[in-house]
Symmetry: C2
Subunit: 128 residues, 2 copies
């Protein structure tokens, strides 16, 4: 069910966004309570609207050129806690509650490698 307030919220957010030549904005997903940055993906207007109206995060897959309902096949859904918009409207911050692994590799976060000394090292173990 769509709350009237959420629909109006989508309109206000969409009006503040500046979509690029491909019709996309960058979307950073962050676990709302721990602050962990989980992934970076992309959203078009429809993905933003669906995310705000359903409360489940939906991206735009650039490789598949299709809406990407996060967790639809894996079960690793992202429940939207809050959507924030940056100063120039070309990026959004999705504060989410992530079920399981955000990354297709089974890692909690896609950012599981860090530059340490002279190398790039894996700093976390897969959770799934």
């Amino acid at each position: 069910m769509t709350e009237p307030g959420m629909t109006r919220g989508a309109d206000a957010v969409l009006a503040a966004l500046s979509f690029d030549a491909d019709g996309l904005v960058a979307a950073v997903a962050q676990q709302h309570d721990s602050g962990e940055v989980l992934m970076l993906a992309w959203m078009n207007r429809e993905a933003v609207r669906e995310t705000l109206t359903t409360g489940r995060v939906c991206y735009w897959s650039r490789s598949r050129q299709a809406l990407w309902r996060k967790g639809e096949s894996s079960g690793h859904v992202q429940r939207l806690v809050e959507l924030r918009v940056d100063c120039d409207g070309d990026a959004v911050l999705l504060r989410v509650d992530q079920t399981g692994a955000a990354c297709h590799t089974g890692q909690r976060s896609c950012f599981f490698r860090a530059a340490r000394g002279g190398a790039l090292v894996t700093i976390a173990a897969p959770i799934a």
Copy 2:
């Protein structure tokens, strides 16, 4: 001064990155201790190398088409604490120590507006 280890670190990171058609990767800056997501910007190869070798964050400005040494004019520099690379190498997470405001509006974070009910509201006051 450049530490030999940091130069080697840049090579390892650059080898893991997949730059887009414009030669860029997305870069998310996060305050290392609070977890606050500060901004999203872009880096080319030279910006990544300079950031890793100097320890001060340098982006690529798409509007000015030039290296953007964050804080060079404002003093609001970002000291690099750790650079992480995502699973497919097209985004980096910069864990930084931000001096002052990350946003040109004087806000600590560029993500200072949130969808609340039917509106997009400002959720923080400028700090500078």
